[in-house]
């Protein structure tokens, strides 16, 4: 990595938690400068403006979040076991970036705001759902999952229940809601599993 690229990565590593915790509009440039120890000119050598920095910080946060949530997923055999593992990782593993799930935060933050961030969040959501649908369909093909299962419904249910539970758990400062969500999703998975 060139020195320029290293500085850029350092900026993203410092800026991503700030944007994730405070939101795009709620976060001031000064906070980023304080966190990175850079002057305005130094920051703008790497990013054209606050919007570009916000977009790249979100990309950084999302990439790291997906990575940590799907770690070792390739080693798990069986569609239901893979879905169960994804739920388990979401419940067990702390957010890769302080401030909770960047996808949910940006979805909420940008729903009435920044259109570029909103589009990236849409893409992130769509990719996540497509990944889950793919696993369900794989299980349907192999006969492990009932042929009558609706992949999109299962995928949306897993995402909605986990994200909603994370919101409650973070608000309340305990894991009850996440554990309750996991128990319910286990029931959903049992129900789509072939006898």
């Amino acid at each position: 990595m060139s020195k320029g690229e290293l500085t850029r990565q350092m900026i993203l590593a410092k800026a991503a938690p700030i944007f994730n915790q405070r939101g795009y509009a709620g976060c001031s440039l000064q906070e980023i400068l304080d966190a990175t120890g850079l002057e305005k000119g130094g920051l703008y050598r790497h990013f054209a403006n606050k919007e570009e920095l916000a977009v790249e910080s979100f990309r950084y946060a999302l990439t790291n979040t997906v990575k940590i949530r799907t770690e070792n997923l390739d080693h798990i055999r069986g569609a239901v076991a893979r879905l169960r593992y994804i739920v388990q990782r979401f419940v067990d593993v702390r957010s890769a970036i302080p401030g909770g799930c960047p996808l949910m935060n940006t979805a909420i933050d940008a729903d009435d705001g920044n259109p570029v961030l909103r589009e990236m969040a849409r893409k992130g959501m769509s990719d996540w759902r497509a990944g889950l649908c793919g696993i369900v369909e794989e299980g349907m093909r192999s006969g492990e999952i009932r042929a009558t299962t609706e992949p999109r419904r299962i995928a949306n249910t897993i995402i909605a229940t986990l994200e909603g539970a994370l919101m409650i758990s973070r608000l309340e400062g305990n894991k009850c809601a996440l554990e309750d969500a996991q128990a319910t999703l286990e029931g959903v998975l049992k129900e789509i599993e072939s006898d």
Copy 2:
């Protein structure tokens, strides 16, 4: 209502959607002044500062949201029918205040920010769950709901799934995720219903 109280209510009706859409930190005083047509002095005759206005706006938004979501609930007989009705209302009825669910928005917005708003969101969440738990327990007493049901798990599941689905639906601009959540929750309710 006195003229002062009318003005106060007008301010809350105008400010609540702005805070709900833009968040506490993301919303500037100027936006509130523009929306209400008041001067700074006029606004501060009714609210001590931006924080008090944000707190009262959230209270206003939450009260109206709960009211619209539970309208006519008292007329529904049977615990499962009442839970089903609550899910249905959440899916069918647009938010009372533009910008989506004020409880989720404030939970996400305030999780790393304003402690007063955070406490109010906690209370709102706790009340909502207590209400749902009460209905489940009522059904368990009457024998309509299986005695082995865990009320808290059912309540957390309903809240998490609906709120998460609303987040996805608002991000994607369609009701798919909410309808999928409703279908899954219908399965959850069927499962706790006594034979």
